[in-house]
């Protein structure tokens, strides 16, 4: 009989995929809090239920966000995780690090926390998982000393995040890293001090492939795209044509959603006026096809998960916007939307739900945008129209 304190979890150290249980055990060699987590988690696996209570309000001086309070409901059994708060550290744009920067972060965390982390949290933060209330100020002070700051939590601007962008991707239609950094720095107050009706997420995707799922996950989604012709390298097209495993007609032309491509066995042609910039042909022939030169972004609003009124994908409010710094047009738009939200939003209602309630037509009118056919898939098919204009007998 093994004397393991986690016989059920030990089963999850088997198999080829890296084991989170092994990670908890490694952290437990350095921190009693991680050992406490292991033992509490074992109980959860036995009883099939969580042993975490609701978060309480904890934080660092002057900030309303960045720390998520977490308490055990079994602190009599597991006193080391009686408090087990999360520290959200604002990640660098694109999740780029150097080994030295990570060592610096781990130095702080090994001193003050459970030695467990998430790289990264769902919104994008570097997550320090599990510490006591008494350690929070010290963690914050040491982080800021080294040039790091906390991310968002609660009803504030959540930590903006982005794809790898122009740092290492030829598809990027604007500088997602620069914009993420700019917005993060421009909205430090909104990020650290929650005063919105609910959370607000910015996500920057460099192209319509949307590797950061901005269209599904962000209240304000900025997706790179282009207006002019797809750039083509005819020599590289020939290389693909010569590849016996690659079938241009079947894998590229037939998959084009707007049927704007043709291939006669020698020449690939694109009717760019009818291209919807879906990325498929560029994705599968990256050596031959490139996004155009007249680049910018589309802005979509209102994505969210189901709670409360049902999940929504973001929808278009600006079909194309220039993305050259200092992004003034973009920031003016954000300011107008926040003013609208301040006036119309109710507690725990995301902007997408607020727009659903008020109506997209009314929303865009109030933030000063003109109605455009690109904002909808089709005009309405129901005749219940709230006409506001009418004539009266003289």
């Amino acid at each position: 009989m093994s004397d393991s304190k986690s016989p059920i979890l030990d089963e999850l150290e088997k198999g080829p995929w890296p084991s989170f249980v092994t990670e908890i055990k490694k952290a437990a060699e350095k921190s009693p809090m991680a050992q406490g987590l292991l033992e509490q988690l074992e109980l959860s696996y036995k009883e099939k239920k969580t042993h975490w209570k609701h978060g309480g309000i904890v934080g660092v001086k002057g900030y309303g966000g960045g720390i998520i309070g977490r308490y055990s409901d079994a602190s009599d059994k597991f006193p080391d995780v009686a408090h087990f708060h999360t520290v959200r550290v604002n990640q660098p744009s694109g999740w780029f690090y150097t080994a030295d920067a990570l060592r610096e972060l781990m130095g702080i965390w090994e001193k003050h926390g459970s030695c467990l982390t998430n790289f990264h949290g769902s919104t994008g933060d570097t997550v320090f998982l599990g510490t006591k209330t008494s350690e929070l100020e010290a963690i914050f002070t040491e982080l800021s000393e080294k040039g790091w700051d906390l991310g968002g939590s609660g009803s504030d601007v959540r930590t903006p995040s982005c794809c790898v962008g122009p740092a290492r991707c030829e598809f990027a239609c604007y500088d997602t890293l620069a914009l993420t950094y700019d917005l993060t720095m421009s909205y430090q107050d909104e990020l650290h001090r929650p005063f919105f009706p609910y959370k607000w997420k910015f996500k920057m995707a460099g192209c319509p492939n949307d590797c950061v799922a901005s269209i599904a996950r962000s209240d304000f989604s900025i997706i790179g795209t282009w207006k002019d012709d797809i750039r083509m390298d005819s020599e590289a097209v020939k290389e693909y044509a010569a590849d016996a495993d690659f079938n241009i007609q079947k894998f590229v032309v037939n998959k084009c959603p707007s049927k704007c491509m043709s291939w006669d066995g020698e020449k690939l042609e694109i009717d760019n006026r009818n291209c919807v910039k879906c990325m498929h042909c560029i994705n599968v022939m990256p050596k031959a096809l490139r996004v155009g030169k007249e680049k910018g972004a589309a802005i979509l609003i209102g994505a969210k998960a189901p709670i409360v009124e049902g999940a929504q994908l973001a929808s278009v409010i600006v079909p194309f916007i220039d993305m050259t710094p200092p992004y003034q047009e973009l920031k003016d738009l954000i300011a107008a939307i926040w003013e609208f939200w301040d006036e119309h939003g109710v507690a725990r209602e995301r902007i997408g739900e607020c727009i659903q309630r008020v109506g997209l037509g009314s929303f865009i009118e109030q933030i000063g945008l003109k109605p455009l056919p690109q904002m909808v898939l089709q005009p309405r098919d129901n005749p219940y129209i709230f006409y506001e204009e009418y004539l009266e007998e003289e």
């Binding site: 991680a34 969580t50 790289f119």
Partner: protein, 358 residues
């Protein structure tokens, strides 16, 4: 020793500090990329400069010990430069092609596999689960581990028709945004919250608790002379939003909590429009530590997709083409009344045509 000065609102470090010199020189000037082999990319710039990426797996929950090991490997092979992906993979950024295989070998010696590129199952995005969440109906990390163990071959090779993105969320809050994945595992509760009438008034604000319910099932009331709330249980759809607002309404129920499986969502605009996942299996009981029924169902979906889909068809595109009735035929999953939507936009999903395959 004086305490360090306390600074606020300084924001994150500027990302340029962490960019490899070749990335800095070729920022915005990348021409194309190729997948050299599973888990290894080369990006080529207009100047002809090349940068190599080795993509390695991670359980997302990492000890500082493992982070420090990764740092040592980065120093040894990639000049200390690395990044993480939106699916929690680790990417080492190398300028020396000769370092690729030694790095991969040393990663493998440390049980860190390499893969997740192109037509593969890349890492699973997921939530905290029993590790750190109060509203979880299941454990996310455990599900990720057993599914990736079971589908491991698809991480290490690129033989699928297209990429398959899997996500796990431990409750309907979906911090993992599973609602747009090829395959989604979603934890759910199936019973209304149990109200702690004795303490509710002290722990919760009654008006906001009432307002939190999307189906207006919660009403104010008095129980034993104390202000509390009551639930119209027939209207409860177990979303847990009231519990988020009011800790005196715990919704976890080990006997009834479990997971559901959803398929066919995507966020990319490639070919077809971004779309939500749709329900495949409404309920599987929690069966830790290895959730065998869940891994079998996921493996079944992946295997049938691998056999039946055309190249460059994502799971949802494949099902759209063959039709949902055939998806249920092929998988043998039972179609139940729970598969038919009955919330706000339910009518949009009814079939209003006679176009059907027999």
């Amino acid at each position: 020793m004086a305490a360090p000065a306390r600074k606020t609102d300084i924001g994150p470090p500027h990302y340029e500090k962490f960019l490899h010199p070749i990335i800095k020189e070729n920022y915005g000037k990348w021409k194309y990329h190729e997948v050299i082999k599973p888990g290894v990319l080369v990006h080529v710039a207009e100047t002809g400069a090349k940068i190599f990426t080795v993509r390695a797996a991670s359980p997302r929950l990492l000890s500082s010990t493992t982070i420090l090991l990764i740092c040592d490997l980065a120093d040894k092979y990639s000049g200390g430069y690395l990044r993480f992906t939106s699916r929690n993979n680790i990417e080492f950024i190398l300028d020396n092609e000769a370092n690729i295989d030694p790095l991969i070998n040393e990663l493998k010696q440390n049980n860190i596999p390499v893969g997740g590129t192109k037509n593969s199952i890349s890492n699973i995005v997921h939530t905290q689960g029993w590790i750190h969440c109060h509203s979880s109906a299941t454990d996310a990390s455990g599900l990720v581990k057993v599914i990736m163990d079971d589908c491991f071959e698809y991480f290490e090779n690129m033989t699928l028709p297209h990429k398959v993105k899997i996500a796990v969320a431990c409750c309907l809050n979906m911090c993992g945004a599973v609602h747009c994945s090829d395959i989604a595992i979603l934890g759910l509760h199936r019973r209304p919250p149990k109200i702690d009438h004795a303490n509710l008034k002290n722990m919760c604000e009654i008006p906001s608790t009432v307002a939190s319910c999307p189906t207006a099932a919660i009403r104010p009331t008095y129980v034993d002379g104390k202000p509390s709330v009551k639930i119209d249980e027939d209207r409860c759809m177990f979303c847990g939003n009231c519990f988020s607002v009011c800790p005196a309404m715990p919704i976890a129920d080990p006997l009834n909590d479990g997971v559901s499986i959803w398929v066919g969502g995507k966020v990319s605009n490639a070919r077809t429009q971004p779309t939500f996942t749709k329900l495949a299996i409404p309920y599987i009981p929690n069966n830790p530590p290895r959730w065998t029924e869940v891994t079998e169902a996921v493996k079944k979906i992946v295997t049938i997709y691998a056999q039946d889909a055309e190249k460059y068809e994502r799971v949802g595109e494949w099902i759209e083409r063959i039709g949902w009735p055939r998806f249920f035929d092929l998988t043998g999953f039972e179609f139940t009344k729970y598969h038919i939507d009955d919330f706000k936009y339910a009518g949009l999903t009814y079939r209003r045509t006679t176009q059907m395959k027999y």
